[in-house]
């Protein structure tokens, strides 16, 4: 039982994909201007993550390792298309807010990363829980960040109150505010983590450790990461 619990909970705090592993940065920065947008993106990505983890785990013995990345991408693209259709049909307002970032779930590196690092090697149950945990962690981080940006940037929370509580500080809703709030959130995460977890070491650079391409990357096998 312990490993099932572990596979679910690690994505929420210990290996939070956004705040600890610094993955999925594009959607995190882009849709976090409103709480509704952040929540919609989180739920949509979680759906794709759980479904693709289940399917990839079921197929893990059938997919030859040479072509596993393209195979994973096809599975993920299929579920992304399903999400696109569902949102267009049932919640068109969310579809409008997410816009181009909805089809771009297919290249969200959290999803390909989990397929490569986890679902391709573990049983269906564990993979589903792993996907759910990572999805919840992603959604929580997105909602937290969008709450901060919406509160300061428009003076509202999830669109309430309609006219804003105070004059908005527009820069928080602007792209620059996204980078700024994200930087401060990671700083706060590192501070809090160091306080509660004695073994914690903050991620200091954008290294290859979480990159889904690490295993097949020539740069990596030649030594060093992208930057070397």
């Amino acid at each position: 039982m312990g490993k099932y619990k572990e596979s679910f909970t690690k994505g929420i705090v210990k290996e939070n994909p956004v705040l600890r592993l610094v993955l999925g940065t594009c959607p995190t920065l882009a849709v976090s201007t409103t709480v509704i947008g952040g929540l919609g993106m989180g739920v949509a990505a979680t759906f794709v993550l759980v479904c693709s983890n289940i399917v990839i785990s079921l197929l893990r013995k059938l997919i030859p390792s040479m072509v596993r990345l393209p195979a994973y991408i096809v599975v993920i693209a299929g579920f992304t298309t399903i999400v696109q259709m569902l949102l267009k049909a049932f919640v068109p307002s969310i579809d409008q807010i997410l816009g181009i970032y909805l089809p771009l779930i297919v290249v969200n590196c959290i999803i390909l990363g989990r397929a490569e690092a986890y679902a391709g090697k573990h049983s269906v149950g564990l993979s589903a829980l792993d996907g759910l945990g990572m999805g919840v962690g992603f959604t929580a981080a997105l909602v937290l960040m969008s709450a901060i940006r919406e509160f300061f940037g428009s003076g509202t929370l999830a669109g309430w109150p309609e006219n804003g509580m105070f004059p908005a500080i527009a820069v928080f809703a602007a792209p620059a505010g996204g980078f700024f709030v994200f930087g401060l959130l990671i700083w706060a995460t590192n501070k809090l983590s160091a306080k509660f977890d004695k073994e914690f070491t903050p991620k200091t650079s954008f290294d290859c450790s979480a990159c889904p391409h690490a295993a097949s990357c020539e740069k990596m096998t030649m030594g060093g990461g992208c930057d070397e």
Binding site: V22, T25, C26, P27, L29, A30, L69, P70, I73, V74, A77, G78, T80, T81, Q84, M85, I100, P103, L104, V106, V107, N108, C109, L112, V171, A174, P175, A176, G177, G178, F179, F180, F182, G183, L184, I186, W187, N190, K191, P202, K203, T204, S205, F206, C211, P212, H213, S216, C217, E218, K219, M222, G225, C226, D227
Partner: protein, 193 residues
């Protein structure tokens, strides 16, 4: 002609892919530590963007649209980009080894770069014709190059700066990116775009 020029400048400065639209943030943060690798990565991205647009635009217009298969766009585009990148890598490795050594190593990373898939989908959403689509992709690629080169310069300075301990590493990089992005905010509304 005038119109094409506006599309290139618009994609490059006003709607800069990295700093205004948040597409391609991973390589922007990950490969910008050294100027050399930043330029290599940007040129590879620009090249793949142009190639991908040249292939995906005809597919959408002549295959998907007439057959009412628009819903397959995401799957088809990502597959086309992935195989295209593989093909380019093989061709470069076989025929132009020096170019493969300087640009080719970034190619596998570009498959899942959201800027490439993003520009191909945006071209369709905006309803551009073929030439405008290519212009938009060129502008997007050049915009990526400008952002990367500027940011690589900033990061080389950051290396030696005295930063409070908690902010060292990723937080300071993101805050620096915020300041670079703020400078591009100044282009908002230019040319009425």
């Amino acid at each position: 002609m005038n119109n094409l020029f506006l599309i290139v400048l618009g994609a490059m400065l006003v709607n800069n892919f990295v700093l205004s639209q948040f597409l391609g943030i991973c390589p922007f943060l990950g490969v910008s530590k050294k100027l050399g690798s930043a330029v290599g990565m940007s040129l590879a991205v620009t090249f793949v963007m142009l190639m991908a647009t040249a292939v995906t635009w005809p597919i959408q217009t002549f295959v998907l649209d007439p057959n009412d298969l628009g819903y397959l766009q995401t799957i088809v585009f990502i597959l086309v980009i992935a195989s295209l990148v593989q093909l380019v890598e093989i061709v470069l490795k076989r025929f132009v080894p020096p170019l493969h050594k300087s640009l080719g190593i970034y190619l596998p990373l570009i498959t899942t770069n959201c800027a490439v898939l993003g520009v191909t989908i945006l071209n369709i959403d905006e309803g551009y014709d073929f030439v405008s689509s290519m212009a938009n992709s060129l502008g997007a690629g050049l915009g990526f190059l400008i952002a990367m080169v500027m940011f690589a310069g900033v990061r080389e300075r950051l290396e030696t700066a005295d930063i409070p301990e908690g902010l060292r590493g990723i937080p300071s990089t993101l805050i620096a990116a915020a300041l670079v992005s703020l400078s591009f905010f100044g282009f908002q509304g230019l040319f009425g775009l």
